[in-house]
Structure formats: structure tokens, C-alpha cells
């Protein structure tokens, strides 16, 4: 990957202006016991005043490290090993911590990734905003600082800021916290705002309003925006310029539309092909037949396969005869009693749907819409308040003992977080084999063979059986979780946000794997997600949930081509990249 990309920033037109931020040959390394591990290797990035630039790449590509290097807040043992970061004429790498303190907040604002962990839980929101305003000398005196804080929060979209100053972060939703953080970042009208995946932890619909607001604020104040994301669609939609990073290097940079239309570097090409947001978009614009697209120059595989498979399935399914329902849910309701509150909370409200054997139904909705509660009730991890669940015609509610064990054998879950769902103290072989032991399937040797067979099924090498979860990447872990789910040869797999935590390329691979396994093993999937873009490539039918109710049920094509409900349209519009015209 050391060959420089033919499209350098200079080739995109000569620019006489002095850039606001110019990173030249930046080298960042992490000191470990076995020497220095490079994280950023010679990155060059140029950003002009008032412009928006997005850095795109998968996790571990060095995009966040680059951002942290700019404000000299590298985590732990991270160190700038070389290169220059020219900001407004001064080299930030040469500043002392004391001088850097003057730059941070005042000249360069920062909006962090996870709104849940970036506000101090023990101080009120108002305190944390006022503290920033005071530190940067924006206002003096109690009343003045408070007035300023209210103004900053109002700009960031908190209409009732006066009332909420005294509240604590845990009384705010994720979206509101991110507004607070954006308010803090912009409070001193910095020349540059660095936003590190500012919306990755948020629901798609919230994501959209937050980003709209961020765009408007930076435009109004003339602040340049350095935007970091793993979602190419999002980047292309929000930024004029793109920088694609891969393994610590900038592999491609230039105007967004140009890169999207004509990606030169193989990695960028794969990213463009794999991004579900773009893939689903591409299926929608059916003016072009997918297979006619020009991918000739490259080794594009994953993304294209995925789209092809999805299209082929849609065709097959329409032609196939109707089969019996594997899952039937009728009038399912779950009511939680809240302590100290007389009103009960209805998490799931009269939900009914059915899933045909061998098909995939996606349950879509924002967080809090009750979709995971449905999954828990299906798996009998929670009991329903009302309603009935029938698996293969059997009502599951009265099952006990052996019958319940048999039900569990037929139905297996895969959860969202591949880091949290594997026991770090058990090796992979034991993890996959555990259900076999629990259900006393076969003898020791046959279980071992089954584990190897499963590893092969999910395209993992046999050698992995003796390794531990911490030695595996996120994608590999999720494959292990899938292998474990398949161990008992279930008919039904419940996938609760199973690909949401993964990078786009890995996401594409896992989706492909799921789709292959479905064909091979005749599996029925209930696919729970907040991301409609993923639904497009995996699901046959879609149920859209809002506040505990199913508001729309239809085939995937119907939902995408002709959404009936306002809420569904909102979700569709929120898919990043939906607004950009693709050059392909």
C-alpha cells in the first residue's frame, strides 16, 4: 500500500490560500513492551478555513489517533514520533502542555464519540458547560457565564436550556448529551471543530438531526469541521473533502463526490462497494442494473456479492411456494412496573407477526422501541404479560424442564456486542462446544469434530479452537458467536443487532455468511436492527416498531420503494448517504 495515490490534494486544483490545518508526514506510535507500534504512518491532511473534511476508515486505521494527535491528547503511551501539524501557522507538535491548553477549547473544539461516557456523571450539565466557557475566557462573572452557557446550549438544540442547567448527564438522553458536547465544543467559537464519530452511538433518526445541527452551526460560525467516521456514505454526504485512511496511512484524498464516483485505491473501492448505506441506496436506484456497474478495474467482491445475493433471493422467494410459519407471535404485550411510579411502562404493545420457515424478517426501530424485548420474550428470557408465541405451532409460555430445553435447542441467539458475549476465560473451542455439553449431544470426540465443522462453516481456521477471545478481532468474535448459535443445528436464529458493532467491511462479510448459512441450513432468521441499510441486503420482510407497537409490516421491497408510514420514511431518510447522487 506504499504506492502514493494518484489523486493527491494538490492535484484537485491549485489553491493559493494558506490552509488552516496542514498535517505533513505525521507519525504516531504506541509504546509497548515489544517496541513501538506505529498507528499513523506519514499522514498528510490539508483543511482550509470554513471547510468540512471527513476522515474515513475502519477501526484501527488511525483516524481517531490522527484527531487526538492534533490536540495532543493521545491515549496512554501514544506519542507523536515525527511530522508537522501546522495550525494557523504554528506547529502544534512543538507546543508545551501549557501552550496547548490555550489552543484546546479556544481555537480547536472537540466533539467526542460516545456521548454516554464523555460527560462527567457527578457534575451537572450546566457546570460542565460553564467550566469550559470560563476556562477559555469567553465570559467573566457568574451571571454572564450562565447566560452564555444557556445561549450555547440553545444553539446546540436544547430549547429548554435554562431549566436543564442543573440537571445531571444521566437525566439526558444520548442525543441530548451529544448536543451538550457539541455546544461545549463550539462554545468559544473555535476556528476548527474536530468531531470524532459524533453520532455513531446514536439512533439513525437522532443522528440525522444532530448532524444537520452541527452542519448549520459550523456554517454560521465559519468554523472548519474535521469529521471522523467509519461510514463512507455519511462522510460523503456531510463533507466536501474526504480522506481515506487504511492501516495508518492516507490512501486516498480529494473531493467527496469524485472519490465516491471513481475510487482509485483498492481499499476505497471495497469500502464504496461494501457500505450498506450505499449498497441499499444503489438497489433503490434501479435505473442501473447492479451487475452492469463498472467494477472492472478492481477486486471488488464482498459488497457486490451481497447485493447480487439479495437480488437473487428476492426473485427466488417470490417464485417459491409458501411454506409453514416457523414463528407466530400474536398480541404480544410486555408491561414493566416501575418502582415508585404508579403508571406501568408498556415496552411491547400488542405485537403480532409471523415468520415463514427459511426466511428472514427484520424488526426495525430506534432504541427503546421494544424490539429487543420481543427477542427476549421469544427466547423465553422474559415472560410475556399478554399474548402468545408459537414456535412450530407450539405455544412456548407453558413449557418447562425438558420441553423448554428442547425449545432452546431449536432456537439460538446471537447478540450485538462480540466483545461482551464471549467468556474471556474460555477458549473458542470450549465456547462453541458448550451448548453441545449442556444438551449432552454425542460423546467427547464427536463434539470436538462438530466444533471443527462449525469453525469451518463460519470460515474460521481450525487452529482458532484453542485461542482465547481477546486474541480475536471483532468480526472473528461475531463469527464465533454465530458458530456457537449453530452448534445445536437450530431452525431459528435470533440476531439482536448482530452486525451493528462491526466495521462496514466486516459487516458485509458477516451478512454474506449469514445469507450463505441460511441457504445451506434452511434457517429462519429474526433480524433485529436499528439500521435500515442493513435490512435491505438481508431481510425478506420488515416489521417497523415504534414505541412498542408495530407500525408497518411489509416485504423489504415494499418498505423501501413505497413506505406507508411517516415514521418509516423518517427512518429511510436517516440512512446516511441517502441524499447523495451516486455517480455510478
Amino acid at each position: 500500500m506504499s504506492t502514493p495515490s494518484p489523486r493527491t490534494p494538490d492535484s484537485s486544483g491549485t489553491d493559493a490560500r494558506v490552509p488552516l490545518l496542514q498535517i505533513t508526514n505525521l507519525q504516531v506510535g504506541f509504546q509497548t513492551q515489544s517496541g513501538v507500534i506505529p498507528a499513523v504512518r506519514g499522514a498528510n491532511i490539508t483543511l482550509h478555513a470554513g471547510e468540512t473534511l471527513a476522515i474515513v476508515g475502519e477501526s484501527g486505521s488511525g483516524k481517531s489517533t490522527t484527531a487526538h494527535a492534533i490536540i495532543n491528547l493521545l491515549p496512554g503511551s501514544g506519542k507523536i514520533m515525527g511530522g508537522q501539524i501546522l495550525f494557523d501557522g504554528q506547529d502544534l507538535t512543538k507546543l508545551s502542555q501549557k501552550q496547548m491548553q490555550e489552543v484546546r477549547g479556544k481555537l480547536i473544539g472537540f466533539v467526542p464519540q460516545d456521548p454516554m461516557s464523555n460527560l462527567n456523571p457527578v457534575w451537572s450539565v450546566g457546570f460542565q458547560v460553564q467550566e469550559a466557557i470560563r476556562a477559555n475566557g469567553i465570559a467573566q462573572g457568574r451571571a454572564d457565564v450562565k447566560k452564555h452557557a444557556i445561549q450555547v446550549l440553545k444553539e446546540a438544540g436544547l430549547g429548554d436550556a435554562e431549566k436543564r442547567l442543573k440537571q445531571f448527564p444521566h437525566q439526558f438522553s444520548g442525543g441530548m448529551r451529544q448536543r451538550v458536547l457539541i455546544g461545549i465544543g463550539l462554545s468559544s467559537r473555535p476556528k476548527l471543530l474536530i468531531a470524532d464519530e459524533p453520532t455513531s452511538a446514536l439512533d439513525v433518526t437522532v443522528q440525522r438531526t444532530i448532524l444537520d445541527n452541527l452542519e448549520k452551526l459550523t456554517r454560521d460560525t465559519g468554523t472548519a469541521l474535521l469529521f471522523i467516521t467509519h461510514d463512507l456514505g455519511l462522510a460523503a454526504e456531510r463533507a466536501e473533502h474526504l480522506v481515506v485512511m487504511y492501516k495508518g496511512q492516507v490512501v486516498e484524498s480529494g473531493p467527496s463526490k469524485e472519490i465516491l464516483a471513481n475510487p482509485l485505491h483498492p481499499y476505497t473501492q471495497r469500502l464504496v462497494a461494501a457500505a450498506p448505506s450505499l449498497a441499499s441506496r444503489r438497489i433503490q436506484s434501479s435505473a442501473h442494473k447492479l451487475t452492469e456497474l463498472d467494477y472492472s478495474a478492481t477486486g471488488v467482491t464482498e459488497g457486490l456479492d451481497l447485493i447480487e445475493t439479495a437480488e437473487a433471493r428476492a426473485g427466488q422467494l417470490a417464485a417459491a411456494p409458501k411454506r409453514e410459519d416457523a414463528i407466530v407471535v400474536e398480541h404480544l404485550t410486555k408491561v414493566y412496573k416501575i418502582r415508585g411510579n404508579k403508571e406501568a411502562f408498556t415496552a411491547v404493545d400488542d405485537v403480532s407477526f409471523s415468520i415463514q420457515r427459511g426466511t428472514t424478517t427484520a424488526l426495525v426501530g430506534e432504541s427503546g422501541s421494544g424490539k429487543s424485548t420481543v427477542a427476549k420474550m421469544l427466547l423465553r428470557l422474559e415472560d410475556a404479560t399478554h399474548g402468545e408465541i408459537r414456535i412450530d405451532g407450539t405455544n412456548t409460555a407453558p413449557l418447562k424442564g425438558k420441553a423448554l430445553l428442547d425449545l432452546r435447542r431449536k432456537m439460538q441467539p446471537v447478540f450485538q456486542d462480540p466483545y461482551g458475549s464471549l467468556d474471556p476465560l474460555r477458549n473458542i473451542g470450549n465456547t462453541i462446544g458448550e451448548p453441545l455439553n449442556t444438551h449432552k449431544v454425542g460423546d467427547k470426540k464427536s463434539r470436538r469434530d462438530r466444533v471443527f465443522e462449525l469453525l469451518e462453516q463460519v470460515s474460521l481456521p481450525r487452529a482458532l479452537a484453542s485461542r482465547y477471545p481477546n486474541e480475536l478481532s471483532g468480526g472473528q468474535r461475531q463469527r464465533v458467536a454465530i458458530a456457537r448459535a449453530l452448534a445445536l443445528k437450530p431452525d431459528i436464529v435470533i440476531l439482536d443487532e448482530a452486525v451493528s458493532a462491526l466495521d462496514v467491511l466486516v459487516q458485509a462479510q458477516i451478512l454474506q455468511l449469514l445469507s450463505d448459512l441460511q441457504t445451506e441450513l434452511d434457517l429462519t432468521y429474526l433480524f433485529i436492527t436499528h439500521d435500515l441499510a442493513v435490512v435491505r441486503v438481508i431481510a425478506d420482510n420488515v416489521c417497523v416498531m415504534q414505541r412498542g407497537k408495530i407500525v408497518e409490516t411489509a416485504t423489504t421491497d415494499e418498505v423501501f420503494d413505497n413506505p406507508r408510514m411517516e415514521y418509516t420514511k423518517e427512518l429511510l431518510n436517516a440512512i446516511p448517504g441517502a441524499g447523495i447522487a451516486l455517480g455510478v
Binding site: 502542555q97 491548553q101 484546546r104 460516545d114 460527560l119 457527578v122 461545549i184
Partner: protein
């Protein structure tokens, strides 16, 4: 808030009856006759024994003994010890001394523990951190009576900075050395707890965000690191108060402090029901109150668990 405190105090009522009953029963069930033991090798006359038994209600069934005792408490009468003194008087004489000792110890361990722990945590891996870890490890691994004797010998005998035994009335200056000894183990625990808590907090996202806001380190350390790090330390202090009271028994013995420890120890040896139960009950109630204070303090530090009005 007031409702919460009231509810917590009401919870103390069943605890009071439960502990008194259990402890009374355990003393009752101890083998040996406490009256005969009073006479040592001599054989007392049966009439005298019967009289003493009647005086201490030992001739009644267990449940009656217990009810008489509880009834007495509600009239401010804690019973009579075998040495003939009212238990209430002994309580009043000894508890203030032990409390004074415990509070001084609590003060030392909290202040020094948090300061040393904070510096260690901020200077992780440096010389200060390494030496404080070694010192705290030594303190944790030594039994308290070893620390007490060493402290007594070094500071009392060799250096002459403190008196080796505590005088009548237990003045505060005499209590400093015993309090330091008593605090030593908990001090080491607090150092380690604060240190690891500070290290953990320093790596959290909101600390980085605080830096990115342009705040100085001098502000971030107390405001964003220390306060958050204190939450586990405060929780520890609650349970530690009990440890202090237990540790006080040994320390008081060595420094001859006229506190609860000695008296309670003697009473247990002699199976003095009313004395043991009264002492332990007061300790339990103290423990409950300290826990309530700590819980309130906890809510003050962490708004997420502030109590619903």
C-alpha cells in the same frame, strides 16, 4: 431526603431486636456456669449461688431473661455487671474513649490514605508510587499487634515522642499513637483503593473531554478525577468503621486505653449477658448510623444515586 432518613432509621428497629436477641441467645448458650466461675476454685454456698442467680435472673427461662433485659433497656436500665456496676455507667465511661480513638483513626486513614493514593495514582509507575505500594503491602500483611508493639517501642520508648500508655481520661494527645496504629491497615487499603480508582478515572473519556475543553490539569485533578475516584473509597469507609471497632480491642489492650475493647473482652470471658449484649448492641447501632451517613455522603458524591424524594 427526610423521608429517606426516617425510613432508614425505622429499619434499625428490627435490626435492634434481631441483634439483641441473637447475641443474648449466644451468651446464654455458652457452656459453663457464669456464677460458679465467679468464685474460681472456691465452692460457694448453695444459698449464695441461688441468691446471685435470682439477682441476675439466671433462674428464669431464656425468653424471660431476654424480656426482662429488653424491658429494662426501655427504662434506661442496661442491667448490672457481675462486678456490681450498672452497665449503663460502664457504657458511658468507655464508649466516648473508643469513639474518640476511632474517629481520630478514621481521620488519619482518610486524609493520609486519599492524599497518598491520589499522588500514587497520578504518578503511576514512578518512585513515589512504587514505594507507597511497598509500604502499604507491608502494613496490610502485618497483624495489628505487631504494628502496635513496633510503634510503641519506636515512638514511645526510643524516640520518646509519645507516651506508651494512655493516661486517665484518655486525652487526645495520648490517643494519637494508638490511633495511628489502628489506622495503619485501613490506611494501606485506602491508598490502594484510591490509587486504582484514580488510575481508572484518569483514563475515562470525560477526563479527555475535560482536557479538550481547555481546562488545566490543576483543575481537572480535583474536579474531574478526585471526586469521581472517591466514590469507592467512601463505600469502603462504611465497612471499615466496623473493622476499626474490632481492631480497637487489640490496640486498646496494648496501649491500655480505658475503652470498650477491654471491658467487652472481660465480659465475654465471664459470660456477662447484659454487659456483652449492651456493648454489642450499641456497636451495631453505631454501625448502622455510620452506614446511613456514608450512604448519604455517597448520594452527595454521585448524583446518579441521589435518593428519590
Amino acid at each position: 431526603m427526610a423521608g429517606y432518613i426516617l425510613r432508614r432509621l425505622l429499619q434499625a428497629i428490627p435490626v435492634f431486636f434481631g441483634t439483641t436477641f441473637l447475641i443474648y441467645f449466644m451468651v446464654f448458650a455458652m457452656p459453663g456456669d457464669p456464677i460458679l466461675a465467679l468464685f474460681g476454685d472456691k465452692t460457694p454456698s448453695p444459698a449464695l449461688v441461688a441468691q446471685l442467680r435470682a439477682q441476675y435472673h439466671l433462674d428464669q427461662p431464656f425468653i424471660v431473661q431476654y424480656l426482662i433485659y429488653i424491658g429494662g433497656i426501655f427504662q434506661g436500665n442496661f442491667g448490672i455487671s457481675y462486678s456490681g456496676q450498672p452497665v449503663g455507667d460502664i457504657l458511658l465511661r468507655t464508649f466516648p474513649v473508643t469513639l474518640r480513638l476511632a474517629v481520630i483513626a478514621l481521620f488519619f486513614e482518610t486524609v493520609f490514605g486519599i492524599v497518598v493514593g491520589l499522588i500514587s495514582g497520578l504518578r503511576k509507575g514512578k518512585l513515589f508510587d512504587a514505594s507507597s505500594l511497598v509500604v502499604s503491602l507491608i502494613l496490610i500483611s502485618l497483624p495489628i499487634f505487631v504494628i502496635a508493639f513496633v510503634g510503641q517501642y519506636v515512638f514511645g520508648v526510643q524516640l520518646g515522642w509519645a507516651r506508651t500508655t494512655v493516661g486517665t481520661g484518655a486525652p487526645v494527645q495520648d490517643l494519637i499513637l494508638p490511633a495511628l496504629v489502628l489506622a495503619s491497615i485501613s490506611f494501606a487499603q485506602i491508598v490502594r483503593l484510591t490509587r486504582s480508582s484514580v488510575i481508572e478515572t484518569s483514563g475515562l473519556d470525560f477526563v479527555r473531554t475535560a482536557y479538550s475543553k481547555g481546562l488545566s490539569r490543576n483543575r481537572i485533578v480535583p474536579v474531574h478525577i478526585l471526586r469521581n475516584s472517591l466514590i469507592p473509597v467512601v463505600t469502603y469507609l462504611a465497612t471499615d468503621f466496623g473493622v476499626l471497632l474490632v481492631g480497637a480491642t487489640v490496640t486498646e489492650g496494648i496501649f491500655n486505653v480505658p475503652g470498650v475493647g477491654n471491658t467487652l473482652y472481660q465480659a465475654i470471658i465471664r459470660s456477662e449477658g447484659p454487659t456483652v449484649v449492651s456493648f454489642v448492641t450499641v456497636m451495631v447501632l453505631l454501625y448502622l448510623i455510620v452506614n446511613l451517613i456514608v450512604d448519604l455522603l455517597y448520594g452527595l458524591l454521585d448524583p446518579r444515586i441521589r435518593y428519590v424524594k
